[in-house]
Point group: C2
Chain length 484, copies 2
DNA sequence: GGGTATTTGTCCGTATGTATG
DNA sequence: TCATACATACGGACAAATACC
């Protein structure tokens, strides 16, 4: 923006000229683009058009810009004299979307959380979007709702859809009043902290557990009580012994171990909550994908006492790019929520809420879930087979009954950092498990996380083969061209 | 979700039958809809298909459901025996989109913040959306970026576009590193509190000011130091006298008074910040709309000392349904931001960021701004004219040079609550100014807020006429049918 | 708008364990 | 002890309805 100071001796046109010239030299006004038209700039600055024309003429004479009749003043190439504070907007040729890591460096990426871009339901999403953003007169329902500040809890339409879905798929029983839309799991936890703090100054968390959840509590000033995780989930005895009266638990697929909590233990947890007048945060972040064994009811669905906060997200099954999650509050927390969030707005754009609501109402969501579950099961089977064939008993695989990642435990003294480095040298990205531990001394430093959401099924065997070479073949040097 | 307990004497098909029957009686399974197909339920429960068929056949025999070949088992109408805990999902006939207040009750709504639904650029948004969600192979750039967890600060592409726009329109100078995408102004302030607290335990705010900003600080445990607002913005003397070293200021259009801070005062504020080693939060929430007078440079653009945090939003000019804002951090806060947000994710869905980035890159944003500015100026002029004609000197109008709302001050002893009630009785919604005051004792209770973003220009004269009748015509009873 | 792929209920045969004669 | 009947559970083949392109 240009700023003109009146009554200071310097003529207006010269001020305009000077600032534009500076902008061109800075590179802030990229070459090839046009100056604002004289009419528009004159209107913006509230000066006469001739004043602007004067300035532009000066710039044209000096070769900074070239007037093109009927088009505008195009900015010419000049030697940049980079101003330290000026934004450098010249790299206009860079693609609009940020490129991921350059290919060749990394051939296969076992990121957990991300997913294959090709699996997103583009067509359905486009169609639903087009409907939601149809011209207002052509729309069936009231369009105002989309352009208004609304309920802190989120769009009622979406909340109703979520309620229905959760009842069908997870047995969660609730009314729309209990459903809150939030920015993913972190957003939900963040809202929660506002409600339980400072009454609750401690929260019990699985150790190892999900670091993304831990930071939210830590940031809110809540103390973490780490509770060991066994093969079947959180150690209930240790939980009872801890001073915390709020527990964050992922019973359907614990992160990172993948432990699934059996029904008996779930009941123990509920009993614990009742006895200490506590709360349970049930983090069901990817309950959608279960491969072996019968489904186990969610904690919320067997909680007769209303002490469970159920949380879920669309990020895992649909896309991490859609940062939308939800939370089902027990009745006892409803007023606390209202109190804590009076005057606040829902952080999730209504646009996305509208699209999602219709996406679900049209049945796309359940269809997509099924499709993804099938695909992930195939991937899962392929991965397990490849691991068994290649790695044999040099690794133990944890958490292979659900979710989209497994935890590899190395039994022959390999170290996490070495494994990651060796894999990277062979063009495969694998991820450390260490971030899961609050106290790293409790970690033997011999585990890795392999998420298979992002790797196409056809590549999995190949990727495992590469890992095999990287880790277990003597002198299995780098095979990736260019990273030698 | 159904839950089956094995080896308990009760046959599987009977457990399924029983639970479904209960669901139908509860009303949790709405009549007219279909049961999950036998195959799918069998797969879900990990039982044979005939087991499910058996259960369904039983339900069919007893009349709860009717099998429709090729379609499914539709649920029949039964006498409900409502279970207290079951969600009642029966009202499936309600429209997907929530209806706003029933028309007839409210004819004109002077809400500030919301906007006319018809003015949203549907066509351009649809087009850009379709491009962003094009099938991945048809896309020009890397689609993975859309489906990944990414930078906490938001999409680099969008940040670059915002940087360019702010430089051109507001003179804000920054690099993309300084730009942070956030969930509207509240989201930005919320991020900020994490960085400045507990070093700063106080923040100076305009009195009256924007309640939506105040609650964020209060919630974070930060104490508000109210600073009186004069005709030309915050009282700098009072600011200097306050113990706060962080000030939240809306210099381009103060809320609710609409005061515009002159350049001299802006420099005073910057001086204050330098002298007390403080920070300025420049809330430019609707800088886009300015009608009279020359543009004044933003605080950020004349801050040589790097003490200004610049904040803006897309909610006002584009739609409140798009909860996206941005924040430009000074260099001195960059590391503090990184420290405070390690492990956190950006709360704004990448989808919207991608769409917005392309929307801006294609020039739609600036085009839209211009269009809206013209429309709002017309509305503004019409409103001012109508107010002058109808209300004369019974009201004083504040903040009529910018933004999309004005503050009406009543000079003849009218009271806020009465005015709102009287207006509502005539079918016009107007809004209290009282929420702007932290200390309501400082408020004479004689003001109203009129936002004209939501009222079509052609309705403004009519609406003001109605207000005139409501407030100033003796016996000007209700004229709205049905609200008598 | 018409052809195709998928999904649906339906019907079929089979295997297993248990009770009955 | 053996044969039979019954209840329970499982998977495949078929035709119709539906969804998708």
């Amino acid at each position: 923006m240009l700023h003109l100071t009146a009554r200071q001796g310097i003529p207006l046109y010269q001020q305009i000229y000077e600032q534009l010239r500076q902008g061109i030299l800075d590179g802030a006004l990229p070459e090839g683009s046009c100056l604002t038209s004289t009419r528009r700039l004159a209107a913006e600055l509230q000066v006469g058009r001739n004043t602007v024309e004067n300035a532009y003429a000066q710039l044209a004479i000096e070769g900074y810009v070239t007037p093109v009749p009927g088009s505008g003043f195009v900015i010419n190439k000049v030697q940049y004299d980079i101003h330290p504070h000026a934004p450098d907007t010249r790299q206009q040729t860079t693609p609009l979307l940020t490129p991921a890591d350059t290919p060749g460096e990394c051939r296969y990426d076992f990121h957990y959380g991300n997913m294959e871009a090709a699996l997103f339901p583009y067509r359905a999403w486009r169609r639903v979007s087009a409907t939601v953003f149809a011209d207002p007169d052509a729309r069936d329902a009231n369009p105002d709702a989309m352009h208004a500040y609304e309920d802190v809890k989120g769009s009622p339409a979406l909340r109703r859809e979520i309620m229905r879905y959760l009842y069908k798929s997870r047995g969660v029983r609730c009314t729309t009043e209990q459903v809150v839309i939030c920015s993913g799991i972190q957003g939900g936890l963040s809202l929660l902290t506002r409600m339980i703090y400072p009454e609750h100054q401690r929260v019990a968390m699985e150790e190892p557990g999900y670091a993304g959840a831990r930071v939210v509590f830590q940031r809110a000033g809540i103390q973490i009580c780490p509770i060991p995780v066994q093969e079947d989930g959180m150690d209930t005895a240790a939980l009872s012994a801890s001073p915390a009266r709020v527990a964050h638990i992922a019973p359907s697929h614990q992160f990172p171990t993948g432990a699934i909590m059996p029904i008996r233990k779930r009941k123990d947890i509920l009993l614990w909550a009742r006895e200490c007048d506590g709360l349970i945060i049930e983090d069901d972040f990817n309950s959608e994908f279960r491969y072996n064994g019968k489904p186990i009811p969610s904690l919320q669905s067997i909680d007769a006492d209303g002490r469970t906060i159920y949380m879920g997200t669309f990020s895992k099954a649909l896309s991490p790019g859609l940062r939308v999650g939800y939370m089902v509050l027990p009745h006892r927390l409803l007023t606390a929520f209202d109190d804590a969030h009076a005057g606040f707005q829902c952080t999730v754009p209504l646009f996305d809420q509208m699209i999602l609501a219709r996406f679900m109402a049209d049945g796309h969501w359940e269809r997509h879930i099924r499709r993804m579950c099938q695909i992930n099961k195939k991937k899962h089977d392929t991965l397990m087979q490849a691991i068994a064939a290649r790695f044999g008993n040099r690794v133990r695989v944890h958490g292979c009954n659900a979710g989209v990642h497994v935890l590899l435990e190395f039994t022959c003294g390999e170290k996490e950092a070495d494994l990651i480095r060796q894999a990277a040298e062979h063009g495969v990205k694998v991820y450390p498990a260490s971030s899961g531990w609050l106290d790293r001394r409790g970690y033997a430093d011999n585990c890795l996380l392999l998420g298979y959401g992002m790797v196409p099924e056809c590549d999995i065997a190949d990727a495992v083969e590469l890992l095999h070479r990287a880790w277990f073949v003597q002198g299995g040097g780098s095979v990736v061209p260019g990273s030698e």
